[in-house]
């Protein structure tokens, strides 16, 4: 009981300023800070019932101001990091034009759009940005123009028209064709490289992977903590999360059905990346005297490259990886999960929609009880339930598909044709491909290096063997679970349904999936809510492990408590920060880990290849010992 004291105290500390402000508002009946100060209490009570400040839908509360401030900070962070990771190295094209004065007239803009077209930019692919002088144009006017110009000049949901204000005298019009961000290119090239270098291990190793996971080669005396199946489940509980449900929905919404095809391709190629990094994770792990295993990308980067004579590079990459992993665990492993699971849940429990912070506090308490309180049972149960929930989810999706069996061939055709020639409004091939690859990478973490931390704990004599088991992860995560979600969304036509446009605008993927499935199985959204919360919870718990290992690598085992407290703070923040910025930040950090990881694994790929060849030869010759049962 003593250990529960701390998490309860922490959540109380986090919740108290929020609760205090709420209470103060209830008592005084006031809404925004600007109104109601000197007003009579009766009038205040009446005011509190009606919307104030004209154009807003509900009275702005202090909570919402706080949320807005957090969101702005997140947005700025996203901006800085995105400019580095998502630097568009290929395919970027731009047209810009300065205009005297304030270009607020539709015809002027039309002329500019035409000029952009003449300059060679395809209107189907461009995003527009118009910067107007702040002195001349007000915020409301800018917002109005953004909506007007957006409707006039952009087709579909993925092309945007942004109007912003700056301290200038003149206006600036920019038309941009997005290219391939460097991080996605890195991941794609890495996955292709590993697939080729390892001789399509993702195909030829598949059958063996299944028999290893089933336990045919298990030996309890091998050094390690858990057997192959347990290690795979642990890693899967981290990767199967909201990315599979919400992320896929977002991909199909913004990239069209074609994104599904590229997602599957990314999943298949990613299997080889996973193989390589988990083999290395096993090879360079540390077995502690108490039987515990410490392994992961930071170890193979620092030690492996040192063996190759690239010591300083390895040490640098190891540290970089660890830093990014810690940050990623706060973003994608934590805040994103909370955010998206809340979006799914609030569809069924509107109370939460108005009190998002409440979900944040509850989640923080549940996570705190495990990671600080040390209550193993909860974490163990959550992790074991994941395979079960996966099964339920896949079955539900299959049921929907079977019920709509007639529409399947058409859906598949749509997916394949749109993969290469996207419909109007979804951008060009590049955009769709990038979207598919991004979501796959975020979901299955292939090439990112995090799974190596979990897989290094497996008991095995041969590092390659665990790498082969790891092949199954992107397959299960992306090719099975993600595809199920995508097929449901395509077949039910949810991505195209104008009623669901608000999900797109809010980047609320989980809400879309929930609604789409509700059409087919009316009670399923409740099951989905439970599944979503469980997936989110298990992903958070598992990523807290990854993050903590990296933190310990940087700062020593004894400083873990600091990390855990930070993690809880981010659990809370995930509930209150808006979806767009959380999504973007999570993306960036997880994909960013791929930079040091793929570089290191590529350099070390020769060792992996050699070990693979040795192992495979033994396997083929029947020299590997199997369990005698």
């Amino acid at each position: 009981m003593k250990r529960l004291f701390l998490p309860v105290l922490l959540t109380a500390i986090l919740a108290s300023p929020v609760a205090a402000r709420l209470y103060a508002q209830e008592a005084s009946g006031g809404a925004a800070a600007e109104s109601a100060e000197a007003v009579d209490s009766d009038e205040q009570a009446a005011d509190a019932q009606e919307p104030t400040a004209g154009s807003e839908e509900s009275p702005p509360t202090a909570i919402k101001e706080f949320e807005q401030q957090l969101d702005d900070v997140a947005g700025q962070l996203v901006g800085y990091i995105a400019s580095v990771f998502f630097y568009e190295i290929v395919g970027h094209d731009e047209f810009s034009q300065e205009v005297d004065g304030a270009a607020t007239d539709v015809e002027t803009i039309r002329g500019l759009v035409q000029q952009a077209e003449e300059a060679g930019l395809n209107p189907q692919e461009i995003n527009y940005t118009l910067t107007l002088p702040a002195g001349v144009v007000s915020d409301e006017e800018a917002a109005r123009l953004q909506t007007e110009f957006g409707e006039e000049f952009t087709t579909g949901r993925t092309r945007t028209f942004t109007v912003s204000l700056a301290e200038t005298a003149d206006s600036q019009f920019v038309a941009v064709k997005p290219g391939v961000p460097v991080v996605v290119l890195w991941l794609v090239l890495g996955a292709i490289f590993f697939t080729l270098r390892m001789g399509f291990i993702n195909i030829r190793g598949f059958k063996h992977a299944i028999s290893v996971t089933a336990g045919r080669y298990d030996n309890p005396d091998d050094a390690g903590e858990v057997n192959h199946f347990q290690a795979l489940t642990a890693a899967l509980s981290a990767t199967v999360g909201l990315g599979n449900i919400a992320g896929v929905a977002i991909a199909v919404m913004t990239g069209g059905p074609g994104a599904t095809f590229w997602m599957i391709v990314a999943g298949l190629l990613g299997m080889s990346s996973k193989f390589a990094e988990c083999t290395l994770g096993q090879r360079y792990r540390e077995v502690r005297p108490d039987g515990r295993i410490m392994g992961g990308a930071m170890f193979y980067l620092s030690r492996g490259l040192k063996e190759m004579g690239l010591g300083p590079l390895g040490a640098g990459l190891g540290v970089l990886f660890a830093v990014l992993c810690v940050l990623a665990s706060f973003g994608g492993g934590c805040a994103f999960q909370v955010n998206q699971s809340l979006n799914a849940v609030q569809e069924n429990w509107p109370l939460l929609a108005d009190n998002r912070w409440l979900y944040g506090v509850v989640m923080a308490a549940f996570v705190g009880v495990v990671i600080i309180g040390g209550i193993r049972r909860i974490a163990a149960t959550a992790e074991k339930i994941v395979p079960f929930m996966c099964g339920v989810y896949v079955l539900a999706c299959l049921w929907i598909l079977v019920n709509n069996a007639g529409a399947i061939p058409a859906a598949i055709q749509t997916i394949v044709t749109e993969a290469f020639t996207p419909q109007a409004g979804y951008g060009a091939l590049i955009g769709v491909l990038v979207m598919g690859f991004r979501r796959a990478a975020f979901s299955n973490e292939a090439g990112v290096g995090s799974a190596a931390i979990a897989h290094s704990a497996a008991k095995t004599e041969y590092p390659v063997r665990e790498g082969i088991v790891a092949l199954l992860e992107p397959f299960i995560d992306t090719v099975v679970v993600c595809t199920m979600t995508a097929l449901v969304i395509v077949i039910t036509g949810a991505y195209n349904n104008p009623d669901y446009a608000h999900f797109v605008a809010d980047d609320n993927g989980a809400g879309l999936t929930s609604r789409a499935m509700q059409e087919q199985i009316s009670w399923f959204p409740y099951v989905l809510s439970v599944a979503v919360v469980l997936f989110a919870y298990s992903t958070m718990i598992s990523w807290s492990y990854y993050g903590e290992r990296c933190w310990a690598y940087l700062f020593g085992d004894r400083s873990s408590m600091v990390y855990r407290i930070l993690f809880l703070v981010f659990v809370f923040l995930g509930a209150v920060v808006s979806a767009t910025n959380v999504l973007a930040l999570s993306d960036l950090l997880i994909l960013g880990m791929a930079f040091p990881n793929i570089l290191g694994v590529a350099l070390l790929s020769g060792k992996v290849k050699r070990e693979l060849n040795e192992y495979w030869a033994k396997y083929r010759a029947g020299e590997l010992e199997t369990k005698a049962s």
Partner: protein
């Protein structure tokens, strides 16, 4: 003036080379293997790693593994009969608590353990032990320090 031979010497072990050296030194200082009390401190288990979540790693399994390591260590050094204790908690504090419990006269500790820096910076366990010990402490410098 000669230094009185300590009756009970505590030596914390993390099975690094440095702590092995501390072990040998402790036996030399005490003169007799049975006067030396070796102790290993395990960090408190987390709840989220695969091994713990699946119940494969527990404090008992860790203690067993560590005892085996200690037996191997003794064999390597041709020693036997040194009592070995295992504790769970914060190393610096557990070591000093243990030493107080058994009224030790001396603690022999290496200045750095597994993850030391090769600089003139004291490891945090050694530093804690010095700070909290109720008895004398002998700190052995890294042999490869500058």
């Amino acid at each position: 003036m000669s230094w009185p031979t300590p009756k009970t010497v505590v030596v914390p072990l993390d099975f690094s080379d440095e702590s092995e050296r501390a072990f040998k030194t402790a036996i030399d200082v005490a003169g007799d293997a049975s006067s030396v009390r070796a102790v290993h401190v395990l960090f408190p288990l987390d709840a989220v790693s695969p091994g713990v979540a699946w119940g494969e790693i527990t404090d008992e399994s860790r203690e067993q593994a560590v005892r085996q390591e200690f037996d191997k260590l003794q064999q390597r050094l041709g020693q036997s009969g040194v009592p070995f204790d295992v504790r769970v908690g914060n190393p610096g504090l557990e070591i000093t608590d243990f030493a107080s419990e058994i009224n030790a006269d001396l603690i022999v500790v290496a200045s750095h353990g597994y993850h030391g820096f090769k600089r003139m910076v004291l490891g945090s366990v050694a530093e804690r032990v010095i700070r909290h010990a109720a008895c004398d402490v002998l700190v052995l410098r890294r042999t490869d320090a500058d």
